[in-house]
Amino acid sequence: MKPIDITKVQEKLESFVGKEVYIHLETTNGAYASHVNEKAYNVGVYIRNAKVRFNQAKIVGDGKSYRAGLKMEIGWIYAEGLTDWELFENEKLLMAGHDREGRLMVALQISETPFHY
């Protein structure tokens, strides 16, 4: 993946507006968080291949880390802490946030076809 280019990502986000799309959304601090630091809690959330339709989409940020929000007819989806992006298989928009060690902390992915697995 490469550092987020806000213009390109915004353009790609808009290409999904009004279409039925598949979403992958996750955040995690890892299954070992409280094992390596007893003061920590393990937290994580994961949705894969939720089928949604959104009518607005926007990516916002300061050049280092970004937030992306999708407005649906009756609800919202957003992710915070995004740092990198990639257009995967020419059609799937992958966005993720990594920490300094390259570990994934958050991901929001949008595709017109289901994600594999």
Binding site: T28, A31, Y32, Y46, G102, H116
Partner: protein
């Protein structure tokens, strides 16, 4: 001497970090070893350092890393096809029956798996429990021995001293070679143990501190 050893863990790299030295010793004695790997570690957080994987490419990358590690350890590999982080939500009996079918075919004399509730990761606990249930369902005369591996920080207080304590410093080179097959994971995992700044740059040295003993509890049925 063992007739056939079956190792049952959920993630590509559990075999290398947890039991590579033990596996290498069995292979040196000519004992066949088969690894039943539960998932492809699809939900791993380590994407390489610097990152070279993403959430979508990680499963295939880890599958290849797993194949490479099994080649280094010269053991047969079977992938069970579950998904990372979901094993505890699967039907325990279904998973146990799945494993039992494979054990009946391979007829091992020894099964190595995680110690349920003492193996930190929910997948370790769930697959360990299913594997032990699978062995329990086998007729007593044919039932293999189970070595259960605990990895909690409190295992000595909770479970006492393990019956099997393998010092694997003799074949640590082999173990390290297997660990390093897991290119996307090895660096991040080893660095996560020591978050202080004085971490040695020598991954092998860091790994030696933690991984030169492989210990197991003999499961009582």
């Amino acid at each position: 001497m063992e007739k056939h050893v079956v190792v049952i863990y959920p993630h590509p790299d559990d075999e290398s970090f947890g039991a590579a030295g033990t596996i290498a010793k069995f292979r040196d004695q000519g004992v066949p070893v088969t690894y039943l790997c539960g998932t492809l570690g699809e939900m791993g957080r380590n994407m390489g350092n610097p990152t070279f994987a993403n959430r979508e490419t990680l499963p295939e990358i880890r599958k290849q890393e797993l194949i490479n590690a099994c080649n280094v350890l010269d053991m047969e590999l079977r992938m069970l096809g579950y998904r990372d982080k979901t094993l505890e939500y699967e039907d325990r009996n279904e998973v146990a029956q799945h494993i039992k079918g494979i054990l009946e075919e391979l007829e091992p004399s020894l099964v190595i798996t995680h110690y349920p509730e003492h193996a930190v990761h929910p997948d370790h606990n769930a697959l360990g429990a299913a594997a032990i249930e699978a062995v329990r369902l086998i007729d007593e005369e044919k039932r293999p021995t189970v070595w259960a591996q605990a990895i909690t920080n409190t295992q000595l207080e909770d479970l006492g001293v393990p019956q099997i304590i393998n010092d694997v410093r003799d074949n640590f080179d082999k173990k390290m070679e297997a660990i390093l097959c897991h290119q996307s994971q090895a660096n991040g995992v080893i660095r996560s143990w020591n978050q202080s700044d004085d971490l040695s740059n020598d991954l092998k040295e860091e790994a030696m501190k933690r991984l030169s003993i492989e210990s197991f509890y003999i499961w009582k049925f």
